[in-house]
Amino acid sequence: MRSCAAICAMLAVVAAASFLIQDSYILGVMTVTTFLAIWGQSWNLLSGLSGNVSLGHSVFIAMPAYVTVVLFQTWHVPVLAGALLGIAAAVALAAFIGAATLRLSGPYFALATLSASAVMLSLILHFSDITGGPNGIPIAFTEADWTNLEFDHTRSYLLVGLGLLCVVTIFVAGFRRSRLGFYVAVIKSSEAVARAAGIRIALVKVVIYCMSAALTAAGAVVYVFYLRFLDPGFLAGLTLSVEIALFAVVGGTGFLAGPILGAAFYELIDVVANARFGDVGGWDVMVLGFSVVVIVMTEPRGLCELALRLVRAGGAPARMRSVQREAK
């Protein structure tokens, strides 16, 4: 709980500091980082803690985003209502996919989620009358209206994002201490033991999957209004799914701050690369990918663990002790 409080405090500081920043580019970068962190944190709930590596989480981003935006623009359903429907749709999708695939082991589950993600993209592109096809849907902005998630200043989205990240982090922290979290830990270490203890493995797994989907969806709906543009190649793409997984791994799946640190690390690379090398694409993705390789080979517990080791080596007592789980 201490690390959770520390993280929330830090996010509050960032929120306050944002009022001192006027450059909309920097605020934009911070906003993107925040939402990537939300997705990484939600992903970690499923995959880091439970061990089912999902490579198709973008379905829980694309589906609610499209539901909300299409309802809003075509049928004038207010965004907040549409968002709830979108999140519900994501949960239903998770229940469906989860029931079918969670009994598969490691690589098989990963491949199945990957395929689900590809099918989703295919469907979005095909039903272009509703979804706008590959051109996506631009979100018309008429006037600032918070009930429709339309803010005219980037900072507002950043603040909402930071708040959401806090909520998600607190949820994940609370989850680990809950009975459900305990069941998940048992399942992860040994399914046989869990079964013997009477834990309903399939049900637990699906519930986690649905929770993860809901949190991811919540972030997605807000983010899409920040972008003001639904781009299927990005939202439903394979790359985003894989990147989300990689943030959490790079940061450290056993740490509450892991996905946040991973997302920040990734965006930092992007910004630095843009500044140093102009717009030569690929640096951010390259560094992210190879960082994962380095981390898996050397410190599988991630950057947070590295940071902790430095702090301890520096002689200071470890202030932020987080509940450690083996990243295996």
Binding site: S24, N135, P138, G281
Partner: protein
Amino acid sequence: MTGSIVGSRLSRRRFGMLSGVALSSGLLPARLSAQEPINLAVIGPMNGSNAVGGEMVVRASKLAVEDVNAAGGIHALNGAKLNLIIADSTDNAQGAITTTERVLSQQKIAGVFGLVISPLTAAAIPALIKHRVSVITASTADSLVTPANGGYLFMIGPTGSALGRVAVDFVRASNTAKTTNVTKAAILYINNAYGQSAQKGVEKLVRESGIDVVLNSAYPENMTDASPLVTKVARSGADVLFPLSDVTDAGLILTALHSARSKVLVFGAGSGFTWPPIGQSLGEKVNGLFGAAAWNWDMKNVVSDPKLVNVTTRYEKVYGGYMPEQAGEAYGAMWMFALAMEKTASADSEKLRDALATMKVTSGYPTIIQPGLVEFGANGANPNVKAVMIQWQGGKPRTVFPPELATHQILTPH
């Protein structure tokens, strides 16, 4: 302030010294300090399948900016020079939004040329409206010239439906002249803003001219193999094919047609049929191929003006290869911005927008755009520009239709 000092007290020499001090310390109003360069931005995909598009507009924009500066800069602003900001939109909408936002918020931009590919241009519009900077574009999607662009988009070339239309007009003319006897048409279009827009124009016109549309099929942007499409075309019994394509898909379709030894007449519309890559990848086999173009280096209005010929020849000399479609349009567009600055004696992006919306240019370098004048009408469309048909001859695209812009004869269809 200076007026009262100059009045009676100081000699002219002291006034000169004082002005010098005032100038360098920025005390004089900005209008008279000639050293501030004015930023114009060119944004487009520098990577990915449409990288050649980004490359050509950057080259042409550089040429135009150099020419403006060599001619003394913006005279109405005391010879202020233009400065070109180049940015990579990447080849997806996400990147286009981020890049445009970044470029517009990090420095003062008077105007933008871009973003080459219709979906990218569409994605950038909200940022342009927000920062009140206008874009002159050579993208063609009809959906771009609608009120949704807030008055900040000016399409210097013909629309996608006009490109499709010229291909159909060409076939009709050919049928009338009894050179061909086409009765069944197949349409294949890339499933993006450009393809959807061009397709509408083509389908309607084909039906109106009494030709049957036996196949009208979209294909995805990331298609890797066109042989099923070609088989479909064969299955439909079409005798003419209108492919509406970007760069890589045009290459895939044409090679699949070659492989299948298809006898179908092909009239392509879209960058894929007029930009350099198709000439490079097909080599000799490209000659005889027809394509609809928004601009071509050897149209009558260009070759009849030595100053314009000088531009296209210089481009060819510096970069090797003919001056491609959007390069010509970018060159004209940059000069439009310069002329707007001359007219308003301002580098303020809003004033320039207002000027562009009302200007009518009939002389100077913008006449590189056919038919030799540029003005923007409702929603930023160019009411006078016409698409042209080119035929590849001797490794270069030559203008063969319509007659008022054509400079070459048609070689017997392949």
